[in-house]
Symmetry: C2
Subunit: 495 residues, 2 copies
């Protein structure tokens, strides 16, 4: 759990040693803290031709209280930002000649580019112009967000092609920005419905609601926030399912009044998920095996939660969970519990195969079936499953684990359309190398490779997974379903 | 172009040194040679419950003349293989205790598992049983092929989930098999139409044609053949578009009588593509920039092809290509030409951005538009584009290149439905680290990382890309469109 190299290179001596030896230089990532403002500083705005999402963006930036500057290519921004009552100015590129003193210049916290109007590959040069000018001005632990349209919904092959090309830009930017900077791409469906204002009939300072996709608010907040410290190189699609949050929605307690369940909640990532959901206002019920009852009780006491000492793999458990939760129902169910039993397949025992598949995959299926049949999971609810990079890329010695975690991706993709009619979303997070008791036991060389082979040059923390789950569980994230989001610091590893 | 480490560890002394130091041990890959039988040896067949593709599989194995053995879990195989006139027997697992003398036991060339009937995650244990028993018996440079159903077409979420889980198994097997073994997953749509027999009214020794998807033949051949030496960890979908090949189809000259065009054909991967397509019977027209005319002429002379010294990026070129090809038309168009101009975006010049996007992406769009509008590309034709792992994962210093290659993926996905009504397929290959003049110029450390960070522990050869393109260009590959196949030895790198 202790990355001593990260500590070393962030000491004055260590930084000098690492620089002279050209070792990787991981930043201490800026993470969300309740005692520090979540949003501050400047966002630089860029845009391609005919940008369609600037109004929604201005809305969110006004809500979160950031200042903005407009790149020369985003001339539409200034009058629009003024309408939203935003402090705004012009972006001045850092002087390339003064590169070494860049620290003394005005730094920006985030670069946001609206690429929604790009219809042809030749127009991609607007991204070049913006990031060429602006990337050097981005502060460490800064944020890059590119907004586009879902390629598969584009009218013409050329538009689809150009929108699909954004992935290559965004992922490359993440790999070259380093310094704890994240880079993500959000495809916003045309007509994605509004967030905080959809229930309201009017709201001062905002232009017409018709067709304005401010359903991007929970997602834009997440990707601009320190909460997404270890989420980079991701592509998220926001669909048109409406999020009716109301004007008085409390963004500091988005899960207030909701009931959440987390499996495997006694320790590690599960405990972190329970803590974050509770901090956002949810009542949390933690489930873990009876052998972990003491740890589960302790975790639940810390967050005034409820402990349910159930083995999720036991045949009677789904009905027991449904019965235990039935009266009050569930809004958010997080399938986090999982095990590994690693061996090459020739040496693997049959129980090692069966247990991993059953606990990591089949048990989730049985529990969801029981909760959905009993109506325990409320309409408009959220299911979040924990997959893994191993489920995406496969892994040596993990045929069983990779099968189970690839199956989780299948679960999310297959259940999403079925659950849409009840307005329930189902998504997965796929953690990369996360600092836990499990990874602390790895051989040094494998652990170090896992830690450094990503754009952050370090492992993530359990809280990074938990914050990502909380974003997917957010009432404003109704437009996100059937998706897999990696929490991996943009790991090199993939498929 | 010369991997001296590969040569070293395959010498008697080098093998001892590498083994004692636990260095990677890349095999010299078995590649297709015209003077060696393409298919020989034993294929071991496994199956889950209610396998639906064994009949089609038996058909192909009978055609290519391999011997088969059936795992205990594939009891349906023996009578079925007998009906197809196949030599067959029972698979006997290698004795685990005799592991070190495994070389003296009967080795198999390929493991094929029919998972098409798996409907629930609990049934995945049939894969465990087969690969647990059989993986050790697989010869070096052997083949693993798993056959399933496209998850997104499955009736129930549980079936979808279980079929999606196959990806995790197949990719993990590739990572642990090593020894030059490839592992790939083929999702066969229910009703994928027959290959060699679709035009025929009857064929001796085969059971009913109705619903038998032997449109898998070109694909099964490719993945069982040494032609796919560097293709591993891939997932391919075969749709229902019929391939009417006729009973007398000559599998040794699949492109006989066809006209193919290859851009960037003077040298490197382009020249290799031209050679392979010509060897399979096509007349090849090679296009390259006027500055490369001598090299282009030399390459085309070797294969009795035609040289067209055009700069694909010039505005007049699309019309010129269409005019030059118009009389005889084109069956196969390979968009291979591409350039790199690497710099971090802050240091990149605007021309470096524009040129890369224009040559690698926009020029392809303009050429296809011209050929399709003029009707030069014949109905039932094939377009194959060269993308890159950089287009999938992004890369440091390659915002322009990654954008162009991600855009190529968008092209393939967006054009496929448009072209389907003319029975034209469009697909992409995404090379990983291929030994070329370009990679020979890389700094040693980067080159060595690129070479070793894949399941083959070595770079691929241009011919590996060319063979993959030839498979996609095959008249029997009508059911494959809109897809991206990596030629990367199952590189660790991805997204």
């Amino acid at each position: 759990m202790n990355d001593s190299y990260l500590n070393f290179v962030n000491s004055p001596l260590g930084a000098r040693v690492a620089r002279s030896l050209r070792w990787p230089l991981p930043e201490v990532l800026r993470r969300y803290r309740a005692d520090t403002p979540e949003f501050d500083g400047i966002v630089a705005v860029g845009a391609g031709p005919s940008p369609q999402l600037l109004d929604a963006l201005a809305d969110v930036i006004a809500h979160i209280g950031m200042t903005s500057v407009a790149h020369a290519g985003a001339s539409a921004w200034v009058p629009l930002a003024n309408r939203h009552g935003l402090m705004t100015g012009r972006f001045e590129p850092a002087d390339p000649a003064a590169h070494s003193q860049a620290g003394s210049q005005a730094r920006v916290r985030a670069l946001v580019f609206d690429a929604s109007g790009i219809e042809d590959s030749a127009q991609l040069d607007t991204l070049y112009a913006f990031f060429h000018d602006a990337l050097r001005s981005l502060d460490k632990c800064g944020r890059i967000v590119v907004l586009g349209r879902p390629p598969e919904a584009c009218a013409s092959p050329r538009q689809w092609t150009a929108q699909r090309a954004l992935e290559g830009v965004t992922r490359s930017l993440g790999k070259e920005a380093r310094r704890g900077i994240t880079s993500n791409l959000i495809y916003v469906a045309d007509g994605a419905k509004s967030g905080a204002k959809s229930g309201a009939t009017s709201s001062a300072g905002n232009s017409n609601d018709a067709g304005i996709p401010s359903g991007i608010e929970s997602t834009l907040r997440f990707f601009l926030s320190p909460r997404s410290a270890y989420v980079s190189g991701q592509v998220v699609r926001i669909g048109t399912a409406p999020s009716a949050l109301g004007d008085d929605f409390d963004w500091t307690q988005p899960l207030a009044g909701q009931r959440a369940v987390v499996t495997g909640a006694a320790r590690g990532i599960g405990a972190a998920i329970a803590h974050v959901l509770a901090a956002q206002g949810a009542h949390v019920t933690g489930i873990d095996v009876p052998a972990a009852t003491d740890a589960l009780d302790a975790t639940m006491r810390q967050i005034s939660g409820t402990a349910l000492p159930f083995d999720i793999a036991a045949p009677e458990t789904p009905a027991q969970i449904a019965a235990a939760l039935d009266e009050l129902g569930v809004d958010v169910f997080v399938h986090n519990a999982g095990i590994t039993k690693d061996k090459t397949i020739a040496k693997m025992s049959e129980p090692a195969w069966r247990n991993v598949i059953d606990i990591n995959l089949s048990a989730q299926e049985r529990i969801d079936d029981a909760l959905l049949e009993a109506g325990t999971l409320r309409d408009g609810g959220r299911i979040v499953c924990v997959s893994s990079i191993g489920g995406i890329a496969g892994n040596l010695g993990q045929t069983n684990y990779a099968a189970s975690k690839a199956g989780v991706i299948g679960r999310v993709q297959s259940m999403a359309p079925h659950l849409a009619k009840r307005r329930i979303t189902i998504n997965a997070v796929a953690p990369g190398f996360i600092e836990t008791q499990m990874t602390a036991k790895m051989p040094l060389a494998i652990r170090e490779a896992g830690r450094r082979m990503n754009s952050m040059s370090q492992g993530g923390q359990p809280v990074d997974v938990a914050q990502t789950i909380a974003w997917l569980a957010h009432p404003g994230s109704a437009g996100i379903t059937g998706q897999v989001v990696r929490v991996c610091g943009q790991s090199l590893i993939g498929a």
